[in-house]
Amino acid sequence: MYFNKHLLWVKVLSWRCALGCCCMHTNMAEPMELLCWGGDWDLPSVHSDSLIVLAYAKFSGAKLAVKSIDWTWRTITASVPQLHYEGSTVTEPAQILNFLRKQRFNADYELTAKQGADTMAYIALLEEKLRPALLHTFWVDAENYVNLTRPWFTSHSPFPLNFFVPGRQASLALSRILLTKAESPLLNITEVEGKIYSEAKECLNLLSHRLGNFHFFFGDTPTSLDAFVFGHIAPLIKAPLPSGQLQKHLNQLDNLCQFCNTILKNYFTDASAEKRMDCSLMATHDPVDANLQKLTQLVNKESNLIEKMDDNLRSSPQHRHETKPSARASERNSPLLSKH
């Protein structure tokens, strides 16, 4: 009895030291905590890497306590996504997925050895070919950055970090593109653009060929490859980008759009409800920051209204019309597909 009590006390102490003064529950098996960016545009998170981890957690049945870093100082200090469990911290989607597999949350259990090898190869393809173009679309392309990305991240960061967070992410994205894709120091970003977009379109075509008519990449159950693909293409499908040539290309690949919508419908329909609960929990535990949040929101509200008006003017009505019929089409098709 004494030994059990001692263990429980040690666990609570170590867990409290790791998490600070946030959580109030003291159950024996504390949930794993994930820090990630908040959600918008019908997505649980707008950040690709966070989406990968969230999707994998849903596929493998892992229960994660999702904490959004919006409006906290972690927007500039933390490298997101970050998993906390029993005092240890894991970053980077690939390492987090490895960690979850070791905790016996394995969505790749039924894959053959060859399929496991294919997973690694396709993930490498995504990282090399698609990620530079995604970074460019959201962070380097002037119209998208000024009209969508920067206002979103500014409005989700606390004062005074809202001046620094988007700029820092943008410069990191630009340096990554230049260092990996611009092979000579003489090339600047405009010359690399054509190359990275054509490679990204080719990558999307290859993924579409590979997916074919199936629900997921390896049969009927989603695996880590599905999580990676979902994390990369979901923001591209759902974000209201003013200038999105890659988005237009992706919208023509129906099976990838349907893949994304299927995952959102089946695994993330109650995401918005969960997020509201998380936000309310955070508010009660950070009374000092609540006033600051209100002030920040009031200041940003006006600029948001202006941004929204611009967005409504700029975003094409076709984009909104396209998403609605495809959602209805997936609902119509799913009873047909489920017969297979």
């Binding site: 980077e92 050895a113 060859k114 496991g116 090898a117 294919d118 690694m120 190869a121 396709y122 490498a124 393809l125 990282e127 090399e128 070919k129 340096s175 990554r176 260092l179 990996t180 092979e183 000579s184 120091p185 090339l187 010359e191 690399v192 054509g194 190359k195 054509s198 080719e202 290859l206 993924l207 060929h209 590979r210 074919g212």
Partner: protein
């Protein structure tokens, strides 16, 4: 830049493959490093698989002559093309292709595996050469700067090292330890081994550019002397990859060994 590239490819398609096509790489004995040697061997293997003759020319300033700054590059007629990807496209425009018989899904797999090799093996080679202090001091910097006199050799060597370290930082590899990098190499080899299985080539009977790329990297890792043998050991533990390398070496390089010594790769049989 890509539009100009496409136009130049289409004009090149009209000319047949000349007799005097040349492949340029850094000096074989003194200067070339593991990653460049692997890329060069991959291109040479691909050209042999296509049946296209090419002369290998070793120059100290090959890196600076290259249009993209990377070696190897080939000089065909009045076209200069560097790196395996663009070279494959260039040769396809000339009418020679190894991957025509593949369907769309197989082509997607081939491209994915080529990216896996580039992402994991090539990056690991660069990391071991330039981000591991011991290897950089003992091997990489002296070899890279051997054709130049003081103080240029120091400047160029440190500049190259700094460039590679910046790239590693940007893709998130700078936080990795050497053991993690060896582990990544091992996982990559495991994936390749599982994909290859018992087949002679990755796409059954016909070799493709993926086979050339994998052979280039694995053969170079197996035959290059680094500060320790751990990298070679990782590859040797997969027997089907070893026999794959033997097979390609005997099929495509056997007659060249008899002809000349310079420019020919070392045979695996000699290495204990």
């Amino acid at each position: 830049m890509s539009v100009v590239h496409v136009m130049s490819l289409s004009t090149a398609a009209a000319e047949p493959w000349p007799e005097k096509a040349t492949l340029y790489q850094p000096l074989k004995e003194d200067q070339i490093l593991l990653s460049d040697s692997a890329s060069s061997l991959a291109v040479q293997t691909f050209l042999r698989m296509c049946g296209l003759p090419v002369q290998v020319s070793c120059c100290a300033n090959a890196e600076y002559m290259s249009p993209s700054g990377k070696v190897p590059f080939i000089h065909v007629g009045n076209q200069v093309v560097s790196e395996l990807g663009p070279i494959v496209q260039f040769i396809k425009a000339k009418g020679h292709s190894l991957s025509d018989g593949l369907d769309d899904v197989q082509r997607a797999e081939m491209k994915a595996y080529m990216e896996l090799v580039n992402n994991m093996l090539l990056t690991a080679e660069l990391y071991i050469q330039w981000c591991d202090d011991y290897t950089a001091t003992e091997i990489s910097r002296p070899r890279y700067s051997s054709p130049y006199s003081w103080p240029l050799n120091h400047i160029l060597a440190y500049q190259k090292q700094w460039e590679v370290q910046r790239k590693m930082n940007a893709i998130g590899w700078s936080g990795k330890s050497l053991e993690q990098v060896y582990e990544d190499v091992s996982q990559c080899c495991q994936a390749l081994s599982q994909r290859l299985g018992t087949q002679p080539y990755f796409f059954n009977k016909q070799p493709t550019e993926l086979d050339a790329l994998v052979f280039g990297h694995l053969f170079t890792i197996l035959t290059t002397q680094l500060t320790n043998d751990e990298l070679a050991e990782k590859v040797k533990s997969y027997t089907n990859l070893l026999s794959f390398c033997h097979r390609i070496e005997h099929t495509y390089f056997k007659e060249h060994d008899r002809e000349s010594q310079s420019g020919s790769p070392q045979s695996i049989v000699d290495i204990p």
